[in-house]
Subunit: 336 residues, 2 copies
DNA sequence: ACAATATTTGCAACCGGTTGCAAAATTTCA
DNA sequence: TGAAATTTTGCAACCGGTTGCAAATATTGT
């Protein structure tokens, strides 16, 4: 159909064996310069390029990496996909993108990715349960869980941040600005990132006897969810002075709700986000937020994946990167 | 290494031939119920699932679709990737994501995608020259250029909008609101979408003798580029009353610049965008814009791709979807 | 110039499946 | 019940490459 040139035809044209052609195209193989030139000439004339899938059959390596996620409504994930695809490409790996939105069962995706013999899988999500990543490990395919839950006994490789510490950091930050009545507006209750941020948040609150804290959840990491939850909160008799939102996009939704109700930020209500996505720095958003070093997380995830390709049974580790507050316009300045 | 179960082992366990196992897993094949049950039992016990890549070798179909783009800084593309990946998955196709940022030469990507024997390629970009899509056609791989340039003599399948008509529509819209001094703030000059929108814009301006029009370009479809160009324009002695920006993200950048200069929208300056991405509807953005029906464009692109898999030499067509203005807060209301 | 050594090449089997064809088994019908 | 028609099964070759091994060729040292 597609008239694709095969190795055999190149061999015939060059008047050499098929193995010779194969060797000319695999570096490190034993080929003389003369032979290589002869083969390359024939290949060029025929427009040949080797079939990566056929060769994977014998080499056992496809250079395909499953990139699975379910965050297609959080703008930070555009940055995530950009960094992942470029990083993988730069190392000669190909991302097979899997959209897990609405998928509750790891089975299907595991099966599918095994059918395509991916060399490894990157699970890029904090809203997918840890069991999802583990399912890949159980199927004996190397897996890195980026933005996953850090645990003292990691079952799979995790690269991300310390979400509990972020929760604590948020409270310290709000406390330093003199807020006495604060709240956590989390993402979906089932997301490990939400759970951990909340638990760090509450842990730190316990250290500040004068601070009153509350919490509630949005049902997704999305603008609409944040807006909806904040509208609900504003209908309650006495809302908090400042909110730590579990994500920037949630924060932006909350900001929208607050302004719609005629309140002003940061004077009436303060907002602290988490992620520091590109958009949060835009002047029309200007969100004070905790920076998550996604560039480093992704680079490190890829390096870890590459290392695992050589050493599949590598002992699992967690790579945790520190976060820090970036000061913009949605939180009052610190009063000294 | 990965202890993967092969068809041969299933055959041995079930006590049947290898072909029998193969047939049990391809629907439409001639197998008795008894045989199928026997094979399925053995397969289940062994945890077998067929190797899609190996079978592609003989069937000539990988069900892999290259999804190539270079728009990783325009939030609308998160929606685009979401819709494409889900749409492809729903039809049993797998998106192989290719990030063409910084890539100027189609050669590499064509070669790479051929090595992986993709069944087809979707080029999702209006900032990639038409030659990019054509390179795939020349390599005899089915290609659909989504968001591509509509031409009366299409060389490849194009699914998108009539960009010239959008330009005209923008002028009519601004004229109807009584603006006499308008301008087009385009994306990169090399993007066909920019060229066409500008040419439609100018064409329509010629129909309105009282209207004065100018135009300039941002160097990318991104927030920063839009903001930067608008800041530059505001330094000129007399800027326009209303701008048609070639994209929503550009518009948002422009809004940020305008407000930073202490001007108000839409009273001092009006902005009309194009795309109607999710974010444009957010209350803190609230952009008046021309809606591009991306959902329909993507559904149609996928349907076209599926059709081409059966009929690779299908006569090229252009599928054009109408756009329409969605009224929000960045343009004065029409004065009757 | 010749033997010893090192490098390059081709043969043939294999990777994990699919498929045309003919033999074997089953069903249909008289 | 038996022959004809139909369905199911297995054999063997093939898809496009890779690789261990032995034969062929080239290089080195004396």
């Amino acid at each position: 159909m597609t008239m694709v040139v095969t190795l055999k035809e190149v061999a015939e044209r060059a008047g050499v064996s098929r193995s010779a052609v194969s060797r000319a195209f695999t570096d490190g193989a034993s080929v003389s310069d003369k032979m290589r030139r002869k083969v390359e000439k024939a290949a060029r004339e025929l427009g040949y390029s080797p079939n990566a899938l056929a060769s994977s059959l014998t080499t056992g390596r496809t250079k395909l990496i499953g990139l699975v996620s379910n965050n297609f409504h959080n703008p930070i994930f555009l940055e995530v996909f950009d960094l992942f695809t470029r990083g993988l490409q730069d190392r000669g790996l190909r991302p097979l993108l899997v959209n897990l939105t609405d998928e509750t069962d790891p089975e299907n995706s595991v099966r599918m990715l095994r059918q395509y013999s991916v060399d490894g899988v990157v699970v890029a999500s904090s809203t997918l349960p840890p069991g999802f990543a583990k399912a890949f490990r159980d199927a004996r395919v190397p897996v890195v869980h980026s933005f996953g839950r850090y645990s003292s006994a990691p079952q799979v490789h995790v690269v991300g941040i310390d979400n509990m510490e972020c929760g604590r950091m948020a409270v310290r930050e709000l406390a330093a600005r003199g807020h006495k009545k604060i709240a956590f507006l989390g993402g979906p209750e089932t997301a490990t990132s939400t759970q951990d941020r909340l638990s760090g948040f509450m842990q730190e609150v316990a250290q500040h006897p004068k601070i009153k804290a509350a919490y509630s959840y949005a049902n997704a990491y999305s603008f609409e969810a944040g807006r909806h939850e904040m509208l609900r909160l504003l209908e309650q008799p006495n809302h908090a002075e400042a909110y730590f939102c579990g994500d920037d996009v949630l924060s932006i939704g909350a900001l929208s709700a607050i302004r719609e109700r005629g309140l002003s930020v940061p004077d009436d209500i303060g907002i602290l986000g988490l992620n520091d996505m590109e958009m949060s720095g835009w002047e029309n958003i200007n969100l004070t937020t905790i920076h998550q070093p996604i560039r480093q997380i992704i680079t490190s995830s890829i390096e870890l994946m590459v290392a695992m390709l050589d050493e599949p049974d590598r002992y699992p580790e967690a790579r945790i990167f520190p976060c820090s507050v970036v000061e913009r316009g949605t939180l009052k300045l610190i009063t000294k």
